[in-house]
């Protein structure tokens, strides 16, 4: 560069070079132009090279929305309303790992949550009820405790609680699913036939939808499945990427005498739901408009779409519609690994849906579960006329631990889903009643007083398999000055404020060196219902994992969200404790938080249950009913016995 610039003034050099014929009259001007052009060219080339060499990573500032697993020991500030910390931040320079013993790792396995005998599981698939049996299929790796080699695992149960393992239902043996037999849903036809649609990843690396059906529909166990010979039945349409096309829903029958179904996709970072119609589940027509689209939400996985009754008393068949019915649209967001839903209106005339509240649209509003939870799916249980929700709970520990213990992931206890007719703005989730069959002994404790800054041990025996019901009453104390009014979950249960936190400490040891607080925090409190007109009280419901374990190589976050508490309601809590999973339900299931905990000391007989009140200005009176829960003895189907 410098060399050429120097040459600019060096006319004599150029003159000396060009002794050729025929150029003399123009040579000088032409050569100036040529030199100038070369300079511009070279300067611009240099600029190009320099620009491209820059590391713009800091500028790009990739949002910390990634793997929850990696937020070890760091509680981000302001983790509060509905926002679980999503941090890709790597460990601090001094974070050691932990010497996990076999006893600690074995303890983590649950007693009554569905999990395979070993290896990795993710999304629940094709749940259904057929000839007296509930069926659960699931994404499964037969070889390892990490994701991969995905096939469909299969299990059956009479009661959604006591599961029996069956052989794999769908394996990757055709060109149209050789690279993955991914998620899908079942549709039960009026004649009793079962149709399964699932996503296959082909040998050409394209996501497609495939049709499968039971080899023998009279087999109550639905052991064997047949794949339609001319799969796939749906391929990515124009404008949809080959990797943005998966997880077909259950189909619903409409007044047009066709079956309609939907599956998630994205265009330009807008998540959306495509609509397909069919009469035979073999030939499909794509609608020219989406069921719904929400900009900026990214790829929608595991879309679910179903009706709810606004009377809120029973579940509805997926094809139900009419006055008194609203529709729920749900998506799992690939970008943030969170499940969102919205309630709205389905316009069946043109297969579009709009949310009741656009500010609470899919992907930006309510979440089904504010903890570790993803890929959820409902089905209509025609046996008991209820809509039942499954959700996948991943591990929050390191993969070394998963490989050592030989398994990873759980499903939640199935939950019924109903429209909350009292608020009209959200769903209610509740563990299926069949869990009560696990109940052994119980303890009932009434109006236990818990003063500010105190912890009350509950003597209920073993504390690793529990069904806990609590109701709280609040007594406002005279105070000299209201402490800082922390709103939301704060940085956890250590953060005191006037009206919270208070709740229970689960999987805690006597020394309280390990504990998992599950709590409420009110922003305000009045003496009676009249105060709700003068001040607005917001109640936050939270689970604080930050001290759940001394081990630094597990994720320990504070999860939570606001929960509506109506004036005629007491604060109430239901908690299912099952070793390394805790499912917490506030206000009858208005807000739900699933949590994974990996204690090192608060295990086996050392695990305890406490009440606590870390508020400064209120007394708490708690009434509890606590059941010990039995194991569900989930095991292989006893084929050698007669049924």
């Amino acid at each position: 560069m410098g060399g050429i610039k120097d040459d600019v003034g060096h006319v004599p050099l150029l003159e000396a070079e060009e002794e050729e014929e025929g150029w003399r009259p123009l040579r000088l001007r032409g050569s100036y132009l040529g030199i100038f052009g070369s300079i511009v060219f070279l300067v611009s080339m240099a600029a190009l090279i320099i620009y491209q060499g820059h590391d713009y990573y800091d500028e790009a500032k990739i949002e910390n929305k990634g793997n929850n697993n990696n937020n070890y020991n760091k509680v981000p500030r302001g983790v509060a309303e509905g926002v679980s910390a999503k941090s890709n931040s790597f460990l601090s320079e001094t974070t050691p790992s932990y010497n996990w013993t076999n006893a600690m790792l074995s303890w983590q396995r649950t007693a009554f949550h569905f999990q395979p005998e070993r290896n990795w599981m993710n999304d629940p698939n094709g749940p259904l009820f057929h000839k007296g049996w509930y069926h659960l299929f699931y994404q499964y790796n037969p070889f390892s405790a990490v994701w991969g080699n995905i096939t469909w695992g299969h299990a059956v149960s009479r009661d959604l609680i006591h599961w029996l393992y069956l052989p794999e239902a769908i394996v990757r043996d055709m060109w149209f699913d050789i690279n993955g037999a991914w998620s899908g849903s079942a549709t039960l036809l009026p004649g009793g036939e079962i149709v399964m649609l699932y996503t296959g990843y082909t040998d050409q690396q394209v996501q497609v939808q495939n049709l499968a059906y039971p080899a023998d529909a009279s087999d109550p166990l639905l052991l064997n499945w047949v794949k339609y010979a001319k799969n796939p039945v749906m391929v990515p349409p124009p404008g949809i990427g080959p990797h943005d096309f998966r997880d077909p829903t259950t189909a619903w029958f409409g007044p047009d005498n066709k079956w309609t179904l939907t599956l998630g996709s994205m265009v330009n970072d807008s998540g959306l739901s495509l609509v397909y119609k069919t009469t035979d589940f073999i030939n499909y027509e794509l609608n020219d408009h989406f069921l719904h689209i929400v900009p900026g939400t990214g790829m929608w996985e595991c879309v679910d779409f179903y009706p709810v009754s606004i009377n809120g008393s029973v579940g509805l068949d997926t094809s139900a519609n009419g006055p008194g019915v609203k529709h729920v649209l749900k998506a799992s967001l690939d970008d943030t690994k969170l499940d969102y839903y919205a309630i709205g209106t389905y316009f069946i005339e043109n297969d579009t849906w709009i949310p009741d509240d656009p500010d609470l649209d899919v992907g930006i509003g309510l979440r089904l579960d504010y903890g570790k939870y993803y890929a959820s799916k409902t089905f209509y249980d025609q046996n008991k006329q209820r809509r039942v929700l499954w959700g996948w709970i991943n591990e929050s520990d390191s993969e070394v631990a998963d490989i050592t213990k030989g398994w990873a992931s759980l499903q939640t206890i199935p939950r019924t889903v109903l429209y909350d007719k009292k608020t009209g703005t959200n769903l209610l989730q509740w563990p299926v009643e069949e869990i009560e069959s696990l109940r052994l002994s119980s303890h009932e404790l009434k109006e236990l007083l818990v003063k500010p800054g105190t912890v009350v041990p509950l003597h209920i025996g073993p504390a690793t398999q529990l069904d806990i019901f609590v109701e709280f009453e609040i007594e406002l104390l005279e105070s000299e000055g209201i402490v800082n009014n922390v709103e939301g979950c704060g940085v956890g249960a250590v953060e005191r404020s006037a009206f919270g936190p208070f709740g229970i400490l689960a999987i805690a040891n006597d020394e309280l060196s390990e504990l998992t607080p599950i709590y409420f925090r009110l922003s305000n409190y009045g003496n009676g219902t009249s105060t709700t007109t003068t001040t607005t009280t917001s109640t936050s419901f939270c689970v604080d994992e930050t001290r759940s374990s001394k081990a630094p190589d597990v994720s320990k976050l504070v999860f939570g969200s606001k929960v509506s508490v109506l004036s005629d309601e007491k604060l109430s809590l239901r908690v299912l404790v099952d070793h390394s999973i805790i499912e917490s339900f506030a206000q009858g299931g208005r807000t739900v938080i699933s949590s994974r905990v990996y204690p090192t000391e608060a295990i086996y007989g050392a695990a305890r249950l406490f009440l606590f009140n870390n508020a400064t200005d209120i007394n708490i009176k708690a009434s509890l009913k606590i059941w010990q829960l039995n194991s569900a003895f989930i095991r292989p189907f006893p084929f050698h016995n007669t049924q």
């Binding site: 123009l26 793997n67 050691p96 790992s97």
Partner: protein
């Protein structure tokens, strides 16, 4: 004469335009490596690692991710070899712990990331890569400041972080 002047001027202008646009044509594939690497925590290491592999010039972002998984594999092997060498002269709990961490990387994280990139499920590639970075950190921290594996652990962690960032770009 006037014609010749105009033609020559035109020729030079066109030449100029051609020259300035040429770089953007010949550097097209290199741009993808660089634009991808720009969005990772270590641009230089990313570019250097990718360019060392022959297929990288024509790979798409997914292909670049797969190449980085190969780089992770090679760094893991380096670490394992070093661990074995160190264990011969004097085993220690920290070394044993590192061995299990790197075993998990090789047995779990790398196959997971590899399959996830191949099969268009980048979120699991991100999981695997992030976990590998963490395992390397755990190994390093197990020595309380006097680690004989710092170079290998840093290499593993840096390369895994780049791989995770590439996976995120595919989400």
């Amino acid at each position: 004469m006037a014609n010749l002047k105009t033609t020559t001027t035109l020729f030079f202008v066109l030449f100029l335009i051609a020259m300035t646009s040429l770089p953007s044509i010949t550097l097209c594939d290199e741009n993808l490596i660089e634009s991808t690497c720009r969005k990772t925590p270590n641009f230089n290491l990313c570019v250097q690692s990718l360019k060392a592999f022959p297929g990288s010039a024509s790979a798409d972002v997914r292909g670049l991710g797969l190449i980085m998984v190969k780089v992770m594999q090679s760094k893991a092997n380096d670490a394992i070899n070093k661990i074995r060498e160190l264990q011969r002269s004097g085993p220690s709990p920290a070394l044993t712990s590192c061995a299990s961490k790197y075993n998990a990387i090789v047995v779990g994280d790398i196959p997971e990331a590899n399959e996830a990139f191949s099969k268009g499920m980048p979120k699991f590639a991100e999981n695997g890569a992030n976990d590998a970075a963490n395992e390397a950190t755990f190994c390093e921290n197990g020595f309380n400041g006097r680690s004989p594996l710092t170079q290998q652990n840093n290499a593993m962690r840096d390369v895994a972080a780049i791989t995770a960032a590439i996976a995120r770009q595919l989400l």
